[in-house]
Symmetry: C2
Subunit: 353 residues, 2 copies
């Protein structure tokens, strides 16, 4: 059994009361029997969830089943609420972060947190980053755009600067993707088909606007294997090599700059993961699953092992590298300093296959 | 030397006079010295071009240099003008199609045409399809959306039905891509970064709206290796396998339905082409280059040979299969019936590398 750290999992607090003062898009949780619940936003059920979103015991049992040793917990993306008024978004971030901290505290050798901030108000976000850091989290999650503001926009520089100086990573998750009007009337395909395209657009925004050069120690983790970014890199390289405005934006070939990104393994296809490992720095690939949602890659460590020989770094070491710095109180950083070997020899049940 | 048919090349008529009656977005060609010209739309230079866009002799010389035996000629995508009033679009289509027919007539053993129609008015388009067929073309080119209407929209069924019954293929080219607002203020990246994402959205629109099932003999050729479609197919398959609304839309796994698409080879990266060949029906992959624009894959046959062993079908036979039916007067169909072997043994100069 290998030690596997899963960096892409989501949580939802079990209680979010209606609060009409917070505006119509304030999310609330409606609990139902059997550990089921609904996230209700703007009067509509956004998603039906269950206790895996908050129940530590159930989660640990699933991890044992899935061969996952440690999980990094981040908010369900819709909770990021980049569209709420800043005071409401800040309040929701505090509730969500504190819930994540509670889950981490319940099993500190198994969980590390990724928090959220009010990214739509960079000054407020910068303040909140210190709280995130004090909670011992390794970083924050943000959407692929901040309520329409692209991630390469200069207005976000203060947020990136603060995260870099606090050694917090940025986990980028697709959210309200562009281009659904090109698909037409087919409900539910946004998260399936448009998410990976959306992530590529956000990554290109960071690349082309020089964000990776400007904040060289900031660790951007891209969801779902970077979305379609790895696939379009050859075209970006080719266009860059022709000169013109794009060449002026990047001192190095796009494929070289893109090696600064971090990528999870949620690709569902061994040959796609092999392509990713060839296209980028294999030392920046970490396991992800999207647990506990339906789209999750089950047995995420086993998926990696089946696709790649010599994948121990992806299963474990790369995660430690990613978490390092921002993860002062987290289990994995402690382990790293003290007895990483102990964590390695303390895997949970389950087999890979 | 191998016989190579390049299905993705573009042309522009050398003369398009200003015509204020046609509306502000009517394109005009401003000729300059040395075979140079500008395409001017709405008072702005859309693209600087040169005589490779219309000059048969120059084109044949470049083909010799690039190791290309035959080219399929299609309009520069911006000329598709899905945003013009239908009478203007129909007029522009006639001018463009007749120019393509003239080029084909000048070297009928080297060129086949792909035309355009007024797709924004399906009834008019259906009429024009007969002209396209009478010109001996193998199909039409359309954008990834028709002025905002997604390609899976039922309003386009009559166009697809007519094309299928006339045995004309549909060449889908990215045009005015969605999602540029996610990148931010970085000119020129639309065609570079967003085009392959846009093509994936259009392909998903066709897939999810059942167009490939409804028109089983219609040959959709996707630009640039299908854009990001091959890359997201594993995610589509996974989501489909979970059931839910997406499963209800498709009787078969998305990867199976996607095998009905045709794909060109404009991927710039051998491992991407190998990925495509594994992800789909290698019998539906044809050579493309984007000649004569800057982004073109030079020596497109050589690129394929370097990436894939046993690629003769991609270099030639698949193109003949694609062209078959709609290409009554075209060189390659005649060759196919009469003396395909002769075309094979009649390659032009140049070596692959």
């Amino acid at each position: 059994l290998k030690t596997v750290i899963d960096l892409h999992t989501h949580v939802v607090p079990p209680h979010l009361a209606p609060d009409t003062d917070r505006g119509p898009r304030w999310p609330r949780i409606e609990r139902a029997a059997g550990g089921n619940a609904s996230v209700v936003i703007d009067g509509k059920v956004f998603r039906r969830i269950d206790s895996r979103c908050w129940d530590v015991e159930r989660r640990l049992a699933d991890m044992a089943q899935d061969g996952v040793t440690g999980q990094v917990l981040s908010p369900m993306p819709e909770l990021l609420s980049h569209w709420l008024a800043p005071p409401s978004a800040e309040h929701l971030a505090r509730i969500t972060n504190e819930h994540i901290a509670t889950m981490v505290a319940a099993a500190p050798d198994r969980f590390v947190g990724i928090g959220m901030v009010c990214a739509q108000d960079p000054e407020r976000a910068t303040r909140q980053l210190r709280d995130v850091r004090d909670l011992g989290f390794c970083g924050i999650e943000i959407g692929t755009h901040i309520n329409g503001v692209p991630l390469g926009d200069p207005s976000l520089h203060p947020l990136y600067e603060a995260a870099e100086s606090l050694e917090l990573g940025i986990f980028i998750h697709p959210l309200h993707p562009a281009g659904l009007e090109r698909i037409g009337a087919v409900g539910g395909l946004g998260a399936v088909a448009a998410f990976p395209l959306e992530t590529a657009l956000a990554a290109v925004s960071l690349l082309a606007n020089g964000i990776l050069d400007r904040f060289p120690r900031l660790k951007f983790l891209l969801s779902h294997g970077g979305g379609a970014l790895p696939w379009i890199i050859p075209r970006l390289d080719f266009a860059w090599s022709l000169g013109g405005p794009f060449k002026g934006m990047l001192a190095e070939r796009p494929s070289e700059v893109a090696r600064w990104f971090w990528f999870d393994t949620i690709l569902y296809d061994p040959k796609a993961l092999r392509f990713l490992a060839q296209a980028t720095d294999a030392g920046h690939i970490v396991v992800g699953s999207d647990y506990p949602f339906a789209i999750r890659q089950g047995r995420p460590g086993g998926f990696v092992e089946a696709a790649l020989e010599d994948c121990d770094a992806i299963l474990f070491d790369n995660a430690i590298s990613y978490l390092d710095g921002g993860n002062r109180k987290g289990a994995f950083a402690v382990r790293r300093a003290d007895d990483r070997a102990a964590l390695r020899t303390h895997p949970v049940g389950g087999t890979h296959g």
